[in-house]
Subunit: 294 residues, 4 copies
């Protein structure tokens, strides 16, 4: 199994006139290839995965694999409430080059998505897929939050490699680390948590901000690993306002607008989301400037 | 456009060894055909729609159309966050005989699923599909709640026929009725709300309980329409404990267990859900007996 | 025990320069005395109870009793998490003329405020106070929601007279009615729920809107009792936009602004709340005009 | 102004037969006086403040001051929704020896408790009280969460000394630190957050666990300050299960049971809370043993 480690952007999916623009994806990946990012997540939350058809998803995996440099991991977001479809999509993605599957916690029947259901779901999926599974916990989108006991139990499965935890709860991250074996990777899910996550034992981050500030995100982790805590915290603090702008405040539309400002292709999100209004773009520009990114 | 009115069960999807059992569906529909149910909802929340593959969904629509008697409506649950896929699936379902599409509010990007996004989503979908759309609002599963202003605006669309509202909020139902045109159908989404919904102007109910107590559900509405309020309320009160058992308390597994007890085919839900333990089945049996259903 | 029935406003507490203005209270009560309101709730949520000192609270009860006409009930909001203080304040209010105590569900330790705690709390309180208790359930302020089973058990206590339920959940109201004895009063807690509440068996309403539209609120209940459902529903629908403006949308400040527009004394709420800005007042004026109240 | 720094327990309030037991308080404080705790919080959430009368609260402050050694801070929880009462109680507590007031965010009118209301509330309170104010943010009990912008603005007030943040959100703590002046103290509110909090710049912790494991809590902070990150994290991880048992899982009753096991006086919580059942006590004993505390 490849090593799950470091900073990886959940890459945005480029659209032109609402349709996939693979050439723009190539353009972005070429730029990211020159950084120390560990890999790319295709069909993550910031990739507008829920707006894509099955065919589009597989096309994206194929393209990402093709354009990315040798040493980068390819992680494909393949989870849905249906175990059958999750397995099928994961294996199709594996055939097209995905190294890992990022599998969202099922969440439709919220009140029944507890320990037993999650153990059953992830065990059945992990048993049947050809690439290792990363559990994806993102309460703000799913409305559910996986328990420490559940992750502890699932971490013993040989084909479950880690968890991406997008909550900002450091107690939870610390527990995920201390209740799982040493090579189970706890991955933070938002750039504001790189410093608190890595200091508590996380192995890396799958973070939207890495689309536009890959070097800074990588640098926070490196500084910590080199014992330069104060510098790491300072850089982390500098990145928080940018991260909030391209996630909580303006969402995918904000992230895409920032990409356009920073030399990447961003474009507009797919309907029903909308592109940003000009005053919001101005605001983002100011925040990027204040953080020294433009 | 056919008239959207009356009581319709979101029919359970029968599985044998985890696989679709079309013969069991036929068995159930044959029984329901003898009642005054107005139609059948295929791939609703109680149909475990989120666990089905695309192929299974279309197979179900086809089968439901084939087995149902002439005068019953066929409504297919076809919504997902992806507009593209929602349109494609709806039109495929229409070709197989669906009369209406029940389209869930998109909900992944919760904080952005507000008025503008919903107007855009439902307008684009309704413009492009061949059968009328019913908006499906179910906050307990989606974590979002559509606003009255949004429903008011969407109700003007010629291809949006109504809303299924699964919340138990009577203020909201009353507003949906008073802010939409006369032939826009407000449909309650749980059997405990038939009485309060119909008295406030709702046109019917798509309710899990109608899988096992179709006559009682139909009767509540009829009694109200005939001015027999007290009798209607009494029957409503009698049904609430049963309804709670097969929805909030035991979910789909409870509903399926009750079906088995009442002469239908229920079976077990698909993984990661589990069938009920025996003590829970005993409890359901008591509740059914207390309500006079067995 | 006096009969708990009909429409009662949770009366606003008048302040001049942030201090209690008893003369303004007299002015308002004199106007309400001429209506068919059943009584007055002092220190309810709309009375800004949480901003008052203990001394101010008792002064208010005394004044309300003094100014109200003979036949009106006086209900005092006396509940807090502390059983000791709830009992003491209730008995002090009783001495000053309160007929009933409206006792909020304790809510600080949310995860522990379940069946056993509520049975213990309300039993201990009801045992020790000299006037009957009305349970006050208001999830939007407390973040807790009392269960049907709990209300059923508490309704057997001879000194617990009813429940004010401020949620808009009609299933819940129906269950409160059908699981308690005939003379246990279920009282709706917002004017949008008068129609659905009374038709489901509620005995009345303690509703903010009755501060400014007492006759309309009383009329909805009367029409239902006289079998004029359609007229009642029509009046209910007309009142919903007004009710939303003076509760959910603009809160106490909006209610007080509307009072000033309709010949009552409203004034400003106490800090940290603020009075409304002029455009918001204009909006309220339009809503009142549209409903025929000005 | 005294320096706000280090670990302080929100001390439990001892009751015998439901009444304050000042001698038991003396017993506990005598033990804590021998540790390196920085001070004591009287009438915090773990002190069952909401169950106490005003007189009891002041008696407690007086006693805590009397029994505590010279160098320990005395912090009194004095906040309520009423500004008037908050000011009065704070000043009464100050007269009895409190060094700081811990003032809960008002929370009853949740939807209106935003930036402007909080700035108004805390400014008015801080202007009028004789001892410095610590803002107390505890979303799990209040249902509200103060914004970074609000804390940033309030931190400029000369009489607002810091914030106790009981959420487990490290992004938020990092922002509280980086958006306030250097001597504004960010204090974590639960022992599971000592490591992530202190590494992100927090000045200390007001944590339930310090009632029973004062040395361990103090030690985590010291190890970090001495650059021994790995040892600190290891100790933090060891304390998390204990902390969960005496907070999230068993609440105040669990904390009091653990105190009895560890040589302090715990006793039972006040009604409507209940003491623990024996099997729960056994479970706590095992958790304490596993962590090496017994």
């Amino acid at each position: 199994m490849k090593k799950l480690y470091g900073i990886m952007p959940p890459i945005v999916t480029p659209f032109v006139n609402g349709e996939l623009a693979i050439d723009k994806l190539e353009f972005n990946i070429n730029k990211w290839n020159k950084t120390e990012l560990s890999g790319y997540v295709v069909m993550g939350s910031n990739g507008e995965s829920v707006f894509l058809t099955r065919e589009e998803k597989l096309k994206l995996v194929e393209a990402a694999k093709k354009f990315s440099s040798e040493n980068k991991l390819i992680i494909a977001g393949t989870g849905s409430d249906s175990i059958k479809e999750t397995i099928a999509l994961t294996n199709d993605a594996a055939e097209r080059g995905a190294d890992f599957a990022l599998v969202l916690t099922p969440s439709f029947y919220k009140s029944e998505m507890k320990h037993a259901s999650y153990v059953k779901y992830f065990t059945m999926a992990a048993d049947a897929v050809k690439i290792p599974v990363i559990i994806y916990n993102v309460p703000k989108f799913t409305g559910v939050d996986i328990e420490v006991e559940t992750v502890a139990e699932l971490s013993a499965h040989p084909n479950i490699a880690g968890i991406k935890n997008s909550s900002e709860n450091s107690r939870q991250n610390t527990e995920f680390v201390s209740n799982t074996k040493k090579d189970f990777a706890v991955i933070v899910g938002t750039a504001s948590m790189i410093f608190p996550g890595i200091t508590c034992g996380a192995a890396g981050g799958i973070v939207a901000l890495a689309n536009i500030a890959p070097n800074e995100c990588v640098q926070i982790q490196k500084l910590i690993e080199n014992g330069k805590l104060n510098e790491a915290l300072e850089l982390q603090q500098k990145m928080i306002p940018v991260n909030k702008a391209v996630t909580a405040k303006y969402g995918v539309a904000g992230l895409k607008a920032a990409m356009d400002m920073l030399g990447y292709f961003g474009g507009e999100p797919r309907a029903p989301l909308s592109g940003l209004a000009d005053p919001d773009k101005e605001n983002i520009k100011k925040i990027l400037a204040h953080a020294g990114l433009v």
